[in-house]
Symmetry: C2
Subunit: 110 residues, 2 copies
DNA sequence: AATCTTTATCGTAATATTGCAATATTAAAA
DNA sequence: TTTTAATATTGCAATATTACGATAAAGATT
C-alpha cells in the first residue's frame, strides 16, 4: 500500500497529522526556525541557508505552504515567506489538549 | 533519492522532525488520543479501536515508541502502552520557542 | 504438554517522499 | 526588447512509508 486510510479517521486527527507531517523533515523545521530568526523572509535567503538545491527547497516551501504553516507573498520578483500563526495555534491547541488529558489520566492509570 | 540529508541539520532540528514525523499519521494521532481517553492502555484495545489490521497497528505503535512518544510495559501476556510525557514536553518547548520567536519578529517584519 | 491469547516480525505490494538536473515562468533591469 | 534574477515545475531515480496476510514468539490457561 503506502496510502494512509485517512477516510477512517476524524477530520481533526487528519488535520493534526497533516501539520505534523509537514514539520516532519529537518529541512522544514530549519525553514521555520530561519523565518523566525531573520528580519527578511525572501525565498532566496532560505535557499542559501539550507544545504539543499533550489528546487528541493522550493518543494519544501510548497509543502509548508500547502499545510498552511507558512504563506508567501510576491515582493517584486522575489517572494516573501512568513509563518502563518493561526495554523501554529491549531497545533499548540492540540498539545494543550494532550497535556490536559494527561493530567486527567494520571489520576486513573499508569 | 528519498533519504533525507539529516546530517546537514542540527540535532535539535532532527529531533523535532522525528517527533513531528511520528505524529504525522492520523492513526498515530488517534492512538495518542485513545491513550489519553481510556483508563487502561492495553494494545489489544487499540487494535480494536482503530480501523486497521493488527500488524499495522503494531507497526504504528513501534514507530511511536521508537520516537519516544509512548512506552510499553509487559502486563501479563498483554502490553500496556502509555504516553511518555517528557518527550511531549520537548515538542511543547519547541512551540513555545516558535511563539516567542514570532512575537520578537513581529516587531521587525511582516 | 497442548492450546489459546496477545503482540511482534517477516515478506511483499502499492504508494509517497526526497532530491536534483533541466527547464519553465515571471518580473525587474539594462 | 533582450538579459538577468528569483522561483516554480517537470521528470526521474533512490528510498521510505503504509498496509496486511502469514507466521512466529511468549506468556496464560486448560
Amino acid at each position: 500500500m503506502g496510502a494512509s486510510k485517512s477516510e477512517h479517521f476524524t477530520e481533526k486527527q487528519n488535520q493534526i497529522a497533516t501539520l505534523a507531517k509537514a514539520l516532519g523533515h529537518p529541512a522544514r523545521v530549519a525553514i521555520i526556525e530561519y523565518l523566525l530568526k531573520v528580519d527578511t523572509c525572501i525565498c532566496g535567503d532560505i535557499v542559501n541557508e539550507l544545504p539543499l538545491a533550489q528546487p528541493t527547497v522550493s518543494q519544501h516551501l510548497r509543502e509548508l505552504k500547502s499545510a498552511g504553516l507558512i504563506k508567501g507573498s510576491i515582493e517584486g520578483n522575489a517572494i516573501c515567506y512568513c509563518i502563518e500563526e493561526s495554523t501554529l495555534d491549531v497545533f499548540k491547541q492540540f498539545f494543550n489538549h494532550v497535556e490536559f488529558g494527561l493530567d486527567e489520566k494520571k489520576k486513573r492509570c499508569c
